[in-house]
């Protein structure tokens, strides 16, 4: 078993870098704070006797040799960048759980057959630079290194420049790094485990998601003198579509999701009927056929609304990730380890994207979830229990041992 106190104190120490007054962490990717965080983790890896390589997109691989170093490494990892108002656990837990696994193997003098590696991937969050899950995306060939380098933040700084500046533009060509199997521990970022009072979530798959930008165009007019029947109120028409987004998700339980998270109203003045409203639509499902049905129903509703109201409505799909089922061998390894350790458990489909979905394109992959308080993440009040984090780390240790051999 791992040392839960040591894991917790490493989490708390890393969380000091970029700590916010409200108890969260703001450590945006490729900033000076990210460099400090990276240096700290790399330092810990070296203290634990690991060797470190960095690839051209700044992904860091920390290696503990096995008995047979010709075998591809059994890898775990996640990310240490955070949201602008992020927490201490999202990503960070997955990386430090890996470090704790290695420290435990060292304590016990256990030599694995295959090497063990702990990775952290560059820019998972995507809040400073898009796209999200950038490092793992380049690694698996979802998009090119050049595309990633060219991404700009609001100040016009590029990923390429910033990688160089903080000293994490490595030599290794991304993807030219073998992986025998990939595991990722993560806080659930949802309320399902807590609601069911379970400690370990076995993750069979990650939902697919479709993101859209919707623009409704009406006619800006004065809220007083314009009779109701002569209005083209873009906000009112938008509310119909916003409600349908949720209704569609509710028609496909338990894994349908529909969210309008972002809304902009023009001109956004109290006594002006909105002439234009832009909003985001986020549809998810673990079943690609159902996700496609949801997509079609949404477009059909938009078409009907366009005809009924006469307003202009544009919907553009801006992102699409298909559902990602994890490899049965990895899912079984997690399930077996959980059973052996006797933790309460259930299957939890991941609603959020993770680096593991890109890793799954190039290697067998699986994930382990632990509960987080009230299901909240991407928030400074994100919280998790030390005993749950320890349990997840124990499951990781045993799943990795099963795959690495000893």
């Amino acid at each position: 078993k791992v040392n839960g106190d040591r894991l917790w104190s490493s989490l708390m120490e890393l969380a000091k870098i970029g700590a916010t007054p409200k108890g969260g962490v703001k450590r945006l990717t490729l900033t000076d704070l990210d460099k400090q965080g990276r240096d700290l983790v790399v330092g810990w890896a070296k203290e634990a006797g690991m060797s470190v390589t960095v690839d051209q997109i700044g992904n860091v691989f920390m290696r503990r040799d096995g008995a047979n170093n010709d075998l591809p490494p059994i890898m775990t990892g996640s990310h240490i960048d955070t949201q602008p108002t992020g927490g201490k656990f999202d990503g960070n837990y997955g990386v430090l759980a890996g470090i704790e696994v290695v420290r435990t193997l060292n304590d016990r003098g256990i030599r694995t057959e295959a090497p063990i590696e702990v990775a952290f991937w560059t820019n998972e969050e995507g809040s400073r630079f898009v796209p999200v899950m950038m490092g793992s995306g380049v690694f698996c060939g979802a998009f090119t290194l050049e595309h990633a380098y060219a991404a700009k933040d609001v100040d016009g700084k590029t990923v390429g420049e910033e990688l160089e500046r903080i000293g994490y533009k490595g030599d290794q060509v991304p993807g030219q790094h073998p992986i025998g199997a990939y595991f990722e521990t993560h806080i659930e970022q949802g309320p399902v485990l807590e609601d069911a009072d379970k400690v370990i979530g076995v993750v069979p798959a990650v939902m697919g998601l479709s993101w859209y930008d919707c623009t409704v165009t009406g006619m800006e007019a004065h809220a007083g003198p314009t009779p109701m029947h002569l209005r083209k109120d873009a906000m009112q028409v938008s509310t119909r579509i916003m409600q349908e987004v949720v209704a569609i998700a509710n028609r496909y339980p338990p894994y349908g999701r529909g969210t309008v998270g972002m809304v902009q109203v023009f001109p956004n003045s109290r006594n002006v009927i909105p002439g234009e409203v832009k909003f985001s639509i986020d549809l998810r499902n673990v079943n690609d056929a159902l996700l496609n049905t949801m997509h079609e129903e949404m477009l059909a509703f938009v078409e009907r609304t366009r005809q009924e109201t006469g307003l202009g409505i544009q919907v553009e799909r801006v992102s699409y990730y298909p559902p990602c089922p994890f490899h049965p061998d990895c899912v079984d390894a997690v399930r077996n380890a959980t059973a052996k350790l006797g933790y309460s458990t259930m299957d939890v489909v991941s609603g959020a994207g993770h680096d593991a979905i890109y890793a799954a394109r190039v290697a067998p992959a699986g994930m382990i979830f632990v509960p987080c308080k009230d299901g909240i993440s991407h928030n400074e009040i994100e919280d998790a229990r030390a005993d749950h984090l320890e349990a997840g780390c124990n499951v990781l240790l045993h799943a990795m041992l099963e795959r690495a051999g000893r």
Copy 2:
């Protein structure tokens, strides 16, 4: 009859001060541009032989003596400040129509019994400093001079400082200026006249209005991992109330109005379920009892929604103006003048507040509307036809002559 070409060319000359690339005007109250506009209009008044007084809130009264100067003046006026993306006609037309009336009286050598005055009121628009209709509001005692002086713009500059700076803080105590009757010509700011193909709107009354700030508080959570039934989605609950605002207005035709013009979503991120949504509600009706019924129905719906959803919902009324019926003598004067001149006409209730509603608290008052293109105002594309503006000015001339005597 007035000289329509002269009226039009004065409008175009004033519109050069603060002209925007898209053909509109940005001349915010108490700015350097406002000073230039004021100086231009005052210069025209002096050329027309008028005497000028300024009160302590910067309202300007331009006077043409009558045969009996003991009689209170028959006044017309409006404002020359504009919205940030305003047009050439809103307010400006009412002031320059007054100047054109005086020029016409001069051309014809007509001496009225009572004096004639043309006023422009400070800060009608309220976009730089709240409250709106500030000058006429102080004049009629709706709020104090001190309250108005203390109003700050976004840079922290006050009305008192800015009035002094541009040289329009006068000596006269606001309200200590007799008014025999007040007329205001204005573009309709709505589509009713254009829709009915009429030239002159006789305005029997101005709608009352209630403004509210509504805040819905749910729980910010990740759009993927949070199942639909465990969400507290502040945006979805807001859409119900937004739809009801319009439904309530539709239950009280023809003068019910309901608008949600301003919406802010927190944290406003594509993959975060909104934890808080703030939006404005604007309810109007010309009948105060019906406006109150609308108010009660809105509050009852909010209460039901609060109980059904369990989310926090706060509604605060931030402004209330009762409906303002105009004086029958002034309404008749407008109606008679329109009939005499043979213009097509209809009654149009004003949906928007105007300086005339404050003037109506201290004197008999009435308004004259002319069509504006597509009913659009508070927009750089605001437009009106020269022949319509001329017609409105002719009606003003004859209505004022009826009240002033000759």
